[in-house]
Symmetry: D2
Subunit: 338 residues, 4 copies
């Protein structure tokens, strides 16, 4: 951390900074310039302490963080890529993993039909929401427990792992019984009680990026899971909120190389929630693989025009199968496969 | 809702829209232009249905929502201003209500000292966090239950109502026993299980705006509380995330007149979390009252330089007392009082 | 500037940083931590040099700027508030200056009518656009030279100074003949050839904030004017682009105290372009004065429903007169007058 | 356009809307709902008229635009992809066009060295800035006219077309003599006098997206060029300003399929300015091609550590050559070639 003193800061003010630094067991190095004094704070865990603690002291102009606030998810702590393994399917390796299925579980027929087609097209994991976080209380909130039971049934029948969202820390155990991967939705990325509960559960988890959170905040949220001993963490970029209104969210394609540089965790991309429209999904999905993503989370619905939620962003089975063919070519061009 | 068909949409495509509209019991009016057909959907609750349901149908170019998605929080449902009453203190009336106190409850001494000074300066309600949502798992997470007990004790001793944040739906009852007003933090504005639990509790609640949520989404989240029969809802503007980096969040001053125009709910402003720096708090607080806010939520700490959380944005008791004097003048200039 | 080296950076890499620093005539101070080496660069004009110059060197992890990139507009260079004087009207002093008038000059009658009413209501300066930057080439582009002539005529007749926008560096002289204050629009805040031309002209200038520029970039743009010797610079906050869609732009109320803290230049606020709707203008205008703005720039049109441009955000003469009464009270409550 | 009246709007208010609509020669269709009247305005050029004209009328709640404001750049006006041809090099066809070179022209040696290596690696066009728009007046502003002369010389010597930025409408002719393609920078996307001058010049032009402009505004700006008869317009996505701070700008990958759907103009991508760091350029460049971009604009510098501008985002010749190999594979996987 770098503390910049105001022009004319007094000897006492500077001393009180030094004292505070020492109280954390850290070292200090003074840079007495002609105009300003700058104090460098040296210690291994300065990233985990708020800059406010120094910024509030008298005579301070500003405090700049040098160390990142996240730790366990960083490449500095673990240089090698982490692999997450689900029933023998490895995420984060050479193989691109595609998770596909409907936004919401609606019925056994719907789920079975999707399972069949997405598996045939080459998806490794099926998605389907039983608990649906909806912006309006008047929207369909999901089949909840009944939805979980359908997921468990179809998963068995088609021998395909499933991922589903968990909304409440109280439901972690119940959802874990039905699903192979827990999903933390964008609106819950900073729901720290939920993260802690999932961390303790040690279940594989997909942590979606909060739609207005920085990559740094996202990795810091991942630390909540890792610090509880849950190493099976997969990140999922799903678009951020910007001023652009031609899409629902702007997919932050740069976050993929940034994550790969800063973190050892695997990262997948959800083009469906970003685009908000099925016609834009293929281009974004292809870009994600080209940029280095380890997998995709794609919405597929047998009859999008009858979907209870998010039909507009769902691919038909035929379009999904076509996209998978295109993705195979892209994967190959970057030295990977599906 | 307005459905714009693609140029050259077929008779069958247009008919299928009409059929879908009828299935909701709504009326339709066709606008057959020279280039395009536009279908207007007429019904009283079209705002509560997703536009996707029509956008996904073949031949559709786009669907535009005319009715707002929120309902119970709207002025159209209730024209008159709502008042929320806490121990005889009315929020939403002529009196400006100031809630003040430390970001986090740290000790009985700290709390008692703050209670004394903020009450003396004219604050009506004391704030203090027992459960702290922190972006990093390595940060101070609050005194939790012990903090609630301290709040209850000091509240009794100084005869001042208190507001504190609740993070988890399981804690609603416990927090309600200690606090007069429940606070939903910015990161939980769309935590719908929490909103539903608080809605059922019927306790007065301050709903902070999600830092990346639109006013429309905020009012729709308020509907989650209102639909459970909880009418004691106070909105709180606390800044939104933008590209500007001289403040922690950009306080959206326009949201105040927008809310006053669109909703009957009272709205207060938290200048401390927006600014992130104590030196900016007075200007924002004054602007809020001038713009029509019904109250303020301000962080005050007896010794900001020793605060465990957010000391940088906390006012000292002396600065708070000075600000209260200035606010009284502003309040008077807009025909109100503190 | 603070240069953070990568873990394991070599002796040679660190030396090459030091050499580069010396080539600028600056000093260096080394902070050799247990994990990382951090190099502090000490010099009085490091803010004016790109961080890239060091960030690109081998072994560097990141470079952090401590000094701000702007200089002449900063309080560090000039501690005392700057006053801009137009025909004896001082901007930046105790008096709040209100500039009002139509978005676009349409006719002599329109202009004369506005001049009469805004002067009567207490405005000191009249605004009116002769050159209109329009997002679409099919929109009304202003009366151009004929508009300037009308402005000059009405200004004479009503003895009121005028402000008008200049779009092109070639027009600076021509516009200066008609107008007392030149206005640089939001889309031209970083049109550096225009800024340089206006800087050389030494005419009073209102520099609107780019709707997606930070306060730091805004003050750095002001440096373009100041460096040419033009000290008559007035800043104008007019809203920034965010995700919020209930207003045209989100007025950044915090920018006022931030500017007051960082710069000696006067700052005014344009509530009309931010709001985009006349009903929101009064609340924002009052907030601006309460927050410490030195003036306002408000759109007034005798018949908003017939305005050629931006009628929706224009106040009627009656509403403007009413607002001026309210603003007088607010001004008084913060120790100023109109 | 759809005009939504307020609940309880009077007969006269509705009539005045109809009258206004008729004055434009448009048709109207009334939708008299039980709660509200909605008026649909039907006409072929409603997209080119401001919604304000109706929104300002008494009794109106809101006005929603259905037709897009851009016209000449839209697929509705021209269904077939436009091709731009520069010395026989076609942009917008099956071949991916790579433009590469230094941010700023520094010397003949530098330019010649770059020309040699980028041509050898497969770039078709060389970039190099003679006029540099810099946020600070204290930064290097480019070699200006001398830079143009160097570009012309090296272009001849290496027989490679060049692209360079033009900052001022007065310079269009001079720049056109040296360069094959004019570049409009991000900060000038809405510099309408510059656009008009380039439109009149009929020279091939790359129109960079304003870093805070929507795709709709971008295409509307393109209309400024097209309406003057200049059809040689190439769009260039270069990242938008968001809250994310790990990159300089967030590349909006979705804009590529959105443009391909809405417009006939070719679109290329500048990964260098978006990323701000050379290490992120390859991933973004690959994603752009996978998403359907027609070309790339990449910064390459023989010695990035000595670059006068933007060295941090420049690739070395070796890294550029490596990237070109990877891009060839991606291009092939989407049925194109470089």
């Amino acid at each position: 951390m770098i503390v910049e003193m105001r022009t004319g800061a007094s000897r006492e003010e500077i001393d009180s900074i030094v004292q505070k630094v020492k109280s954390f067991g850290w070292d200090v190095q003074m840079n007495v310039g002609t105009e300003k004094t700058v104090v460098a704070i040296l210690g291994s865990n300065t990233g985990q302490v708020s800059t406010d603690i120094f910024a509030v002291l008298p005579g301070v102009e500003s405090v700049t963080r040098i160390m990142k606030p996240y730790k366990l998810s960083s490449r500095e702590v673990k240089a090698q890529d982490s692999l997450v393994s689900i029933n023998g399917i490895e995420i984060g390796g050479k193989r691109i993993i595609v998770m596909a299925g409907p936004c919401a579980v609606e019925s056994e027929e719907q789920l079975a039909e999707v399972a069949k087609v997405v598996k045939a097209a080459g998806a490794s994991i099926m998605r389907g929401g039983a608990f649906k976080p909806r912006t309006s209380p008047f929207g369909f909130q999901g089949l909840k427990k009944a939805g979980l039971e359908l997921l468990a049934k179809v998963k068995e029948q088609f021998d395909i792992p499933v991922i589903t969202e968990v909304l409440d820390s109280r439901d972690v155990n119940m959802v874990s019984e039905a699903a192979d991967i827990l999903q933390v939705g964008s609106r819950n990325m900073q729901n720290f009680t939920l993260l802690t509960a999932i961390g303790k559960s040690k279940r594989p988890v997909v942590l979606k990026r909060g739609f207005s959170c920085t990559v740094t905040e996202w990795l810091t949220a991942a630390d909540y899971l890792l610090t509880e001993g849950n190493n099976q963490v997969i990140l999922c970029e799903r678009g951020i909120r910007t001023f652009e209104d031609s899409v629902r969210f702007s997919l932050d394609i740069s976050s993929i190389p940034v994550i790969k540089k800063s973190s050892h965790l695997p990262v997948i991309v959800d083009p469906s929630h970003a685009a908000g429209h099925y016609s834009l999904v293929p281009a974004i999905a292809k870009a994600a693989i080209a940029a280095g993503a380890d997998g995709l989370l794609i919405e597929v619905h047998p009859k999008p025009e009858e979907a209870l939620v998010d039909g507009l962003q769902s691919l038909t089975p035929a379009n999904f199968a076509k996209l998978m063919e295109e993705l195979r070519l892209i994967a190959k061009s970057v030295g990977r496969y599906i």
